[in-house]
Symmetry: C2
Subunit: 300 residues, 2 copies
Amino acid sequence: MHLQALVNEAPDQRPETIAVAQAADDDVLRAVIQATQHNMAQFCLVGSVEEIKQRIAHLGGQTEHYTYVEARSEREACERAVQQVADGQAKALMKGLVSTSTLLKAVLNKEKGLRTQQLISHVAAFEVPGYDRLILVTDAAMNINPDLKEKAKIIENAVSVAHALGLNQPKVAPVCPVEVVNPAMQSTVDAATLSMMNQRGQIQGCTVDGPLALDNAVSQDAARHKGIQSEVAGKADILLVPTIEVGNTLYKSLVYFARAKVGALVVGAKAPIILTSRADSDEAKLYSIALAAHYAAFHS
Amino acid sequence: MHLQALVNEAPDQRPETIAVAQAADDDVLRAVIQATQHNMAQFCLVGSVEEIKQRIAHLGGQTEHYTYVEARSEREACERAVQQVADGQAKALMKGLVSTSTLLKAVLNKEKGLRTQQLISHVAAFEVPGYDRLILVTDAAMNINPDLKEKAKIIENAVSVAHALGLNQPKVAPVCPVEVVNPAMQSTVDAATLSMMNQRGQIQGCTVDGPLALDNAVSQDAARHKGIQSEVAGKADILLVPTIEVGNTLYKSLVYFARAKVGALVVGAKAPIILTSRADSDEAKLYSIALAAHYAAFHS
């Protein structure tokens, strides 16, 4: 599957609405306009409405395609956008010209926020040249050093994304430096434990098998070479990394060295969150919106 | 610089000798014969001499090109090969058909081994498609979770490899998930400390500057985007990873996703050690021998 397919094959039903926290930014609006052209989503644009409309017109968009909510400060923009989701008006949240921390503060607000019982985690979907399937990497951005319980929740969040992409029983590889348990490496112990939790039904909707090293997680040749018997080896859909250090480096290695395409979501709150940054390409922003649209359509 | 250039441009002087611990293996001997054809090194082949000679003849090699030392067991092959290096007959050690742990045991033997004051660490040199320089990654294989002092030694070892490759003042990026110090991430604290140790002359022969994230370590665009002022950002020659988990995943991401070419050495003992595994390609074995030959010629 290609990320572009997610853009081209918008969900069947009427597109869901995404609330954008402070949309008065050309980079953000370009992605919004493109997504609208592909009929992927509707948008509720929160921020300085007058300025947003001017920018849309300037970028060649149609101001009447969108709904608007006025907000005067960064904090207000975040709170109002979150409010749209909390009220059910919007099914996804998108970061505009606001800081991640301000947006997450509004998301995590105990009374008016979007908290659930789930952990909030980051899931990135990569299209790697030479690989015929999307490879999800989690968590490269939110959880620094998750413990076993948190890793189980991070898997569940990634599985919910895989399901939305049509992968009914995704194969999950907890990625470690080696494919055997080494008590000196907690990641290998956690990997073995997570696999058994999956076998006992404590983690559902997927097949977890690890420890695996990255090579035998994604390459059937490498798995065969090591004589690994596993449903997941060589065919992993989801790579669970042990720490943010591993995830962030893998993410950037894929983008900068392997020239992979990527879209990403934060999941685990009441609705998916698009946390793209200025450094992301227009393409990456569009792919992230596509992921959010499919996620919202599948899980609503 | 390309790895093939290291093969083609063998050191000027008479090639140094590499001792191979248990050479009775076709994969190993293929690499040995190829390296001999390129005049990169001489080889002292340790193991079942009769069998080694038969295999060389079978592979089309010239048995008279090599010296031989008989050894009957795995342990004896390791000890005799190490002995060759300890005695100064050989300037590098290569793993043949023996386990890594048996070889390292012989290397680390306090009386007859090759220990020095230095830490032993792994350095991999990658040729990444689209990048015009070799990128060294350390430590992806030996040190699980190095502390600050160990990281300093790991840098020194990698710098000794860079010097042998003609990089007089390599740029070292301690790679972290972010390019700012975050006390919740020890890697960022260590990165800042290592940079200052470099400025104070405690780590020499290189320029260390971090924390950097992988993108702003290797991409000048990414560094510019973040407004990072640094001699290293975007131009790193050496990527110091915080843990074996990061290093191993980065290594395999480069090989399997970015289709990079690689050669690797273990340094810090009295001589460089080639620790290739069965899963390595013939090319990777040859590149590792080339690295060892250049290293031995430069540092002898």
